[in-house]
Symmetry: C2
Subunit: 309 residues, 2 copies
């Protein structure tokens, strides 16, 4: 429950009456990150109870409007609410001037520090890192520069075996030492061996975000083994109305193939064309190739748990 | 029923759970005009059944975000829906570059002609005119250049007195001639006198829009005698949290005073601060000075009728 993503919008390009435009809130141990910010993201945050002031960084995948037109409004609302905490934006270069120009037009000097970090076209790099999580980016295949994101926890601790630990009545400090894999010596010189009272650390949990993108196996190395993958599935196989949309978006079958090739645990499909009133056909198509698929639903929270949880 | 305004958003600055950001759709004899376009206007249009493709012109009062951040999304949606009809935007100068830059970032060439018309700071001028309506602008008092709008019908016809006309069994062509105030001669040489079978044309109907603005009697000459006036009433008297907001916004009492001084028929107050969960105090305050006041309610349609209708 300390790592989850809340989907605020699952529609592509235009609103659907049941679906807003793209925005994901990633929550990890009290940190809040926003990926993309389509128009109306603020409204969705209010509707679904997002602690909007806790968001520290915003990652914009690409500069198509359905992924960022809500950003300037969110920045303005932070200002009006007297935000003081710094805010970091990671995006392709043009966004900075788009935002700056709009703030200038309204003669607004933001009440909080706003830091832009440029994602270079085609780059793969670590964007953010602290003791417990790293956030990296990688290129997608789209009509304009577009990047995916990979959130991975760091320094996962061993887990204590309760049945063994409890009868020992260890002092509290022993727990973190054993979780780090070090043995702990009691006052009577008894050695408590980490290997005996704890299990190996599970693989670190991770969340991968791939939208917008055409089908591309080039992303597989970047997202391999992800606990949870969000991959766009704009259309059903064969439904793309033009060769261009076929090339720069993914269908449900292809999203599932990427999930399978990358051996992720769970797949969320989303970024659905507004033509679909029901998601069942998209889900059915994906599950033929990757059974562990769920649809993106606005307002729904998706847990990113260890495999045995 | 051929002249009305639909309010799509009645909140100021930030969303309120019951109120969207400013946007008014003015409908006049099959024409549709949009005034302001806060974030989420598209969503409100969908919710309230606005025929969005019929909008031919958009008037932006000023470049504070709560009045125009929804515009770029609306323009993009028109593009995605393959709009062909030209669209006219009337605004202060900076908007053109803000829009252009965002279209360039997404490498979008709009599918329809987009025409920008600059409203010069402090200007009063006719912006649009056809046979039946004129739309003019006038300066407001705000922290950045801001303009109000005045929609007035033209060439109002005389109205036929049914009880007199019906028994005469006139040919259809006679109606428009008599409505124009000309007499009509029958085949048997009888003269039907317009003055006898029709009433003088009523005063032309009009809609005035004043937002955002501090209290200013300078607007009175521009809106005098309006059938319906929308005037911002952001706060209750005494509630403005700073001298700046006091100066650049109007309270409910002041909005009513303007309505009284301008001798309008009806007043809509709106642009309410998100601090107000109920509008009754704002309405009560206004009605003390101008009884014929109603509150702006999202999705509600306000008819602009002749006085005796």
């Amino acid at each position: 429950m300390d790592f989850f993503v809340t989907i605020l919008g699952s529609s592509s390009a235009t609103f659907h009456k049941l679906r807003g435009l793209t925005a994901h809130v990633v929550s990890f141990k009290g940190r809040y990150f926003l990926i993309d910010c389509g128009e109306g993201t603020q409204i969705q945050m209010q509707r679904y109870g997002t602690p909007m002031q806790k968001i520290s960084s915003i990652f914009i995948s690409h500069l198509h409007g359905d992924h960022f037109y809500g950003l300037i409004g969110l920045l303005s609302t932070y200002h009006l609410f007297h935000r003081k905490a710094p805010l970091h934006i990671y995006s392709h270069a043009a966004l900075r001037e788009i935002i700056t120009m709009q703030l200038e037009a309204s003669e607004t000097t933001l009440a909080y520090p706003l830091h832009f970090h440029v994602i270079e076209e085609g780059s793969d790099a670590v964007l953010y890192e602290d003791e417990e999580i790293s956030i990296s980016t990688f290129p997608l295949v789209h009509s304009i520069p577009a990047n995916g994101f990979f959130f991975q926890e760091k320094n996962v601790k061993r887990s204590l075996i309760k049945e063994k630990i409890k009868p020992m009545n260890l002092p509290h400090e022993a727990y973190s030492i054993l979780k780090d894999g070090e043995d702990y010596r009691l006052d009577d010189d008894t050695l408590v061996r980490a290997a005996e009272v704890s299990k190996n650390a599970p693989p670190p949990r991770s969340y991968a975000y791939c939208s917008d993108t055409g089908y591309s196996e080039a992303v597989v190395p970047y997202i391999r083994g992800a606990t949870l993958l969000y991959h766009e599935a704009t259309f059903l196989d064969g439904d793309a109305p033009s060769e261009r949309l076929r090339k720069y978006h993914t269908n449900s079958r292809e999203a599932a193939l990427i999930a399978a090739k990358a051996r992720v645990n769970h797949l969320i499909i989303g970024h659905f064309s507004a033509r679909y009133n029901t998601l069942k056909p998209l889900l059915d198509e994906a599950r033929m190739f990757f059974p562990n698929t769920v649809p993106a639903i606005d307002g729904k929270r998706y847990l990113i748990n260890y495999q045995d949880e």
